[in-house]
């Protein structure tokens, strides 16, 4: 026992005998109410395993039962639910340690699901719990401590002198809860930061103890403001101490099957990654230059798809900055190892100026969102933004996309120095961007307005700064209230749907179809696009049910894949997941079964959106910037392309038209085809023209529970 921990004030305690993990499940979930101190275990039923699998499925099912039809993000009954999944904690296959967090989002007011690496989810399971469900609101800051080996769960008062910001709090928690180096390795924390206290774009950090660096690393569940809910509940940290991890901690049904599949995949990574994406040395940063080459990199608030300065922030730059030859997996055995870090970075601004810190990343989304999209092409600034977003508990994607919107508003004259409190926020202003970040963290000045997210900023700018409502609606890159992630979609209708026709808001983890659609020309009809917008969101949802990361599926591929009938699906890797899932759970499944599993969860999430007053066709609308050129500047920057389209699509001569006329023609056409896409996708998904899952669909999926059916019936 650590002496410092003994001095902490325990508010509530629950003792238990940890269930052993059998075939990927403990059969118990943990319920903690930080408001009234209730702590209890809940059994996982066979029906729950059969229907919702685990991970995001368990999260949503528990949340469904925990809330009512009018629950808001900051109501006590809102929950934060975190689970890995039956395959989570497997160490033999790369990318098998993800945690998925779900909560009602302060940005979208419907459930958000956000996944992260780090050790928390698997450690929670190895401590006896398939999921943790946190409800209520504490009066003072608390820690929720789960100690598997000791068999206790405690709600502990967080002392006033304990830090909130993640990189400081992590060290504090190690000092107070770990008695040895071995303890540190068996522990993981979920934390946020003061940015989560003062904004709606708060994120969660999931820690892992890096044995090579002898220090803590953090992976982010960034999207949708779950950090904001976390701090609204006055939670400072979720802490877990697990039994030591072994290769068979999941007690899988068939270890040999898993090991055979794992050995093949490990060998594939070792052989092909060095000649393909080089994830092991560059991580996702390799995508920056690629996206630029294909005119898909968001530049200046998604106006453009490429910039001459991109080489200043491309993968080679980051390869030189990341510490090399480290096993940078965010879970054991992930040799894809994209979770790189810059060590001993000296902070230049803000409260931690002068400290030398580890910066986890930057990854593609952060580089594109806070870099090119804001016109910032200085690596130091991206490291600084990345570090502060993480430690303050701010989502780098919402931050980057939000700042890009603000910068365009500044250039358009909606904002000026008077309105920003003296900050010049033209594109490219790095120091000023960091100042907005520090203001946000303190809940002050323009930073506080910024922290509301784009949807609320639009309204604020209209009400207070006389902004043209149509203009800010067109250029504010959010849908459902969530900021877009970092890909340009103007020339890919399928990806406009990939962002717009999501449950949680525009995040590419549901579908990334730009190459299939725009480059490969594989989805020529609405029906083709609809099929892809059925298959891929379901396939990608499946990763989050089981505790898997999506990257090892398609970021390293044996060239023999080219010979398969459907190379885009990477069939031999899909088969690997069948092997691992069956090997862990002992249930024989087919590749089609995986899609069915996701469809149940996906439709439940849709019905949940409807239950909360959203989730209909109107809510699947997208800003015009994602579909076509909003401004003349934008049109003229790609005039040849747009003029050619006028000839091809409308059989008209662009030479005889004004730019405004041409833009209007494009807009009418592009908006119309998005509506046609919606029709096709809803039909394929078994939804009504208003986006409501039909009773037949729910019956077919076996989720026709009376309360679920009652919701959809109101709209059918």
């Amino acid at each position: 026992m650590n002496e410092a921990k003994a001095k902490l004030h325990v508010l509530s305690e629950f003792t238990y005998t940890p269930s052993t993990v059998e075939r990927g499940y403990t059969g118990q979930t943990l319920y903690v109410n930080v408001g009234d101190g209730t702590i209890k275990g809940k059994p996982v039923t066979e029906d729950m395993k059969e229907k919702f699998i685990g991970g995001r499925g368990f999260d949503l099912w528990l949340l469904w039962q925990g809330i009512n039809d009018s629950t808001k993000w900051n109501d006590p009954e809102n929950e934060i639910v975190i689970a890995s999944g039956p395959c989570g904690g497997t160490t033999q296959y790369p990318g098998s340690g993800k945690s998925i967090a779900v909560s009602i989002s302060p940005l979208t007011h419907v459930p958000i699901d956000s996944n992260a690496g780090g050790h928390y989810g698997p450690y929670l399971k190895f401590s006896g719990w398939d999921a943790i469900e946190v409800q209520g609101k504490a009066e003072k800051d608390v820690f929720v401590y789960v100690d598997g080996p000791a068999g206790i769960v405690q709600i502990i008062e967080a002392p006033e002198d304990s830090p909130t910001d993640t990189h400081m709090l992590g060290h504090w928690l190690n000092d107070h809860f770990a008695a040895s180096e071995k303890d540190k390795q068996q522990m993981s924390f979920v934390t946020a930061g003061i940015g989560s206290d003062h904004s709606y774009i708060g994120c969660l950090n999931f820690s892992l103890y890096d044995r090579k660096r002898h220090d803590l690393r953090y992976k982010q569940a960034g999207r949708g403001g779950i950090g904001t809910v976390f701090r609204d509940k006055k939670i400072k940290a979720l802490i877990v101490k697990s039994f030591p991890v072994k290769g068979d901690s999941n007690h899988p049904a068939d270890m040999e099957r898993i090991a055979a599949t794992g050995a093949d995949m490990q060998h594939e990574v070792a052989t092909f990654d060095p000649v393909q994406n080089r994830m092991r040395s560059r991580g996702t940063s390799y995508l920056v230059q690629i996206m630029n080459d294909y005119d898909l990199l968001p530049v200046h608030n998604y106006k453009f798809g490429a910039h001459p300065d991109t080489p200043k922030i491309n993968g080679d730059i980051w390869e030189a900055q990341y510490t090399q030859n480290m096993p940078d997996g965010c879970w054991y055995g992930c040799t894809v190892a994209c979770a790189h870090a810059v060590d001993a970075y000296e902070v230049r601004t803000g409260p931690y100026k002068g400290q030398r810190v580890i910066v986890d990343g930057p990854e593609y989304e952060t580089i594109a969102g806070c870099g090119s999209n804001c016109g910032i092409f200085e690596p130091w600034a991206l490291l600084e933004i990345n570090f502060y977003c993480d430690t303050y508990g701010i989502d780098t994607i919402s931050f980057g996309t939000g700042m890009a919107f603000v910068m365009e508003c500044y250039e358009a004259g909606i904002l000026d120095k008077e309105k920003t409190g003296g900050l010049d926020l033209h594109f490219g202003k790095a120091e000023e961007t960091l100042e907005v970040m520090h203001q946000l963290a303190r809940g002050e000045g323009f930073g506080k307005i910024f922290g509301m997210g784009i949807r609320q900023m639009k309204q604020y700018f209209v009400e207070h700064f006389d902004a043209d409502p149509q203009f800010v609606q067109d250029i504010g890159m959010e849908a459902k209230g969530l900021e877009y992630s970092e890909y340009l979609t103007k020339e890919s209708l399928a990806q406009q749907g990939g962002y717009g026709l999501t449950n949680k808001g525009p995040q590419h983890d549901e579908a990334w179809l730009i190459f299939m659609d725009q480059v490969n020309n594989q989805l020529p009809t609405f029906e083709d696009k609809a099929e892809a917008l059925h298959y891929f969101p379901m396939w990608r949802t499946w990763f989050g049910l089981c505790g898997f990361c999506k990257l090892p599926w398609n970021d390293v591929v044996d060239p023999k894949n080219s010979l398969s009938a459907e190379p885009a699906k990477i069939p031999h890797h899909v088969q690997n997941y069948v092997e691992i899932y069956s090997g862990v759970t002992g249930k024989e499944v087919t590749t089609d079964d995986l899609i069915d599993m996701s469809e149940r969860v996906y439709n439940l999430q849709r019905v949940m959106n409807i239950r909360l007053g959203y989730g209909l066709r109107d809510h699947d609308a997208i800003p015009y910037r994602s579909a076509g050129p909003v401004t003349e500047e934008e049109y003229l920057s790609r005039q040849e392309r747009y003029d050619d389209q006028i000839r091809e699509w409308f059989d008209k001569d662009p030479e005889t038209m004004t730019t405004q006329e041409k833009m209007a023609l494009h807009r009418e056409y592009r908006e119309g085809r998005y509506e046609k896409l919606i029709d096709a996708v809803y039909k394929r998904r078994g939804w009504s023209p208003n986006g409501v899952p039909t009773v037949e669909k729910l019956q077919q999926l076996g989720i026709d529970y009376p309360d679920v059916v009652a919701i959809v019936k109101k709209y059918l």
Binding site: E363, V519, N554
Partner: protein, 66 residues
């Protein structure tokens, strides 16, 4: 003339290779599956496989994106 992905026309010349076409199209992504008139061509043949005139070349970029 070569037709790439049923959309783009690339001028044919004797001896034109897959690598040449990828360069002309600025296809820099490392994960691709190439078929020439329906026949798959593996990446170790990109420099040597010569494309016939009027060929239907499909360059299937595998999915990218985090």
């Amino acid at each position: 003339m070569i037709l790439v992905n049923q959309k783009h026309q690339v001028a044919w010349h004797k001896g034109i290779t897959i690598r040449d076409v990828l360069k002309i199209m600025n296809y820099t992504y490392p994960h691709m599956a190439v078929r020439v008139n329906g026949t798959p061509v593996l990446d170790d043949q990109y420099d040597t496989y010569t494309i016939p005139d009027e060929a239907d070349v499909r360059v299937i970029h595998l999915i990218a994106g985090g």
